[in-house]
Amino acid sequence: MNEMQPATAAPRTVEEFMTHACALEAEAAERYTELAELMAAHNNPELAALFAKLAHIEGLHRDQILERMGWPAPPDPSVCRWETPEGPETTDYGDLHYLMQPWHALKLALHNERRAAEYFERLAGGPVPAGIRSEAAEMAAEEREHVRLILEWLGRVPEPEADWDHDFDPPRAVD
């Protein structure tokens, strides 16, 4: 979960705002897909399936925005400026661990959803045109609903033991 806070520029039009919203969902979906493939490569089918499911969900959100805007494909994301190094719903590569469990993956998803909600809430409460304010408020409410759903999901997944990252066959041999 990256700590850097580069400068950000708020979208100026509803179209710019929707470009950001679309990029946010698209990047999150792409990253979850990448993580699913990574976990499959590391012979962790349970996490691969979970990340693939999260990718599918984020992909649906991206598609909803595309449909609503009548865009055939996501617009160029390089115009987007975030408060975080990547989109607020994108998992930081550095937060993974080779022994992580579904609970950890869901905690990352929860963090992402909360950060997305906060991003939209800040926009909704900020000095932006009224059209962006209402769209951002709607998106924030959706992200809060996702937070609630992930929390429910987390409640059904066992919490790992304290020594979950203890490797009985560690990569680095120690005396």
């Binding site: 990256n2 850097m4 493939e37 990574l38 190094p85 937060d95 080779y98």
Partner: protein, 277 residues
Amino acid sequence: MSEPGAAVPVPGDYKSDVKPVWCPGCGDFGVLNAMAKAMARMGLRPEEIAVVSGIGCSSRIPAYTACYGLHGVHGRALPTATGLKIARPDLTVIVTGGDGDGYSIGGNHFLHACRRNVDLTYIVMDNRVYGMTKGQPSPTTETHWSSKLAPQGTGLSEFHPMAIALASGANFIARGFTGDPNGLADLIVQGVRTPGFSFIEVLSPCITFRPEQKEWKKLVRPAMLAATDDTAQAARQIFTDDGMNLGVLFAGARPAYQPPIGSGRRSTQELEARFAL
């Protein structure tokens, strides 16, 4: 450049179907991501780019891109890339590797690549350890980092890549962080667009052998000072730097070295004939 009317390139266009086998949490994912973003931003076609590497975890990158690639000999990525760029100046040549490959086995090539100033962009993923071979100290490993092979540390001074690059004549010197792929993509674009030898040092945590490097994301920050073209000022900045400032340190104006090709060129068959017994 992309032809008019062609579809706008996206980062995914520059990734191959080969899936990375890096450890979950490895910083090198961020570099692959940044490279793909940079390539898309520059609008280059994959076949207009060659990615050349040596040996090591990070040197696997060429296989993960859809560009021309060469996963070559340990420490020899720079001379290979130099030959390629001189023979094919039309290609954008990006060289990738790690701190062990680039600063130890390939250390001498690093000095002379900076000095020659051929138009290459060299991205070094520095995790201060030999990850692929199970965690031995590398040239940039901190003096007191204790490991099985070097209990209580190596006791050796750390190699200072940015100082070496500046002293040896690199035309562009920057530092990026894998946790900021967008910022790193900006640096790669600037590096490629700056003529001559561009060196980008990337802080790339090794989650497996240096898990303490997870803390880097709390320590890195954008550099307070803008890039300079004054080597003396850049040198002062390097030696007062704690290693966590990100951005372009030095951008010079030295013309790239590109010897004329064509007139003295021989065909492969002619060259081969000279070696025939």
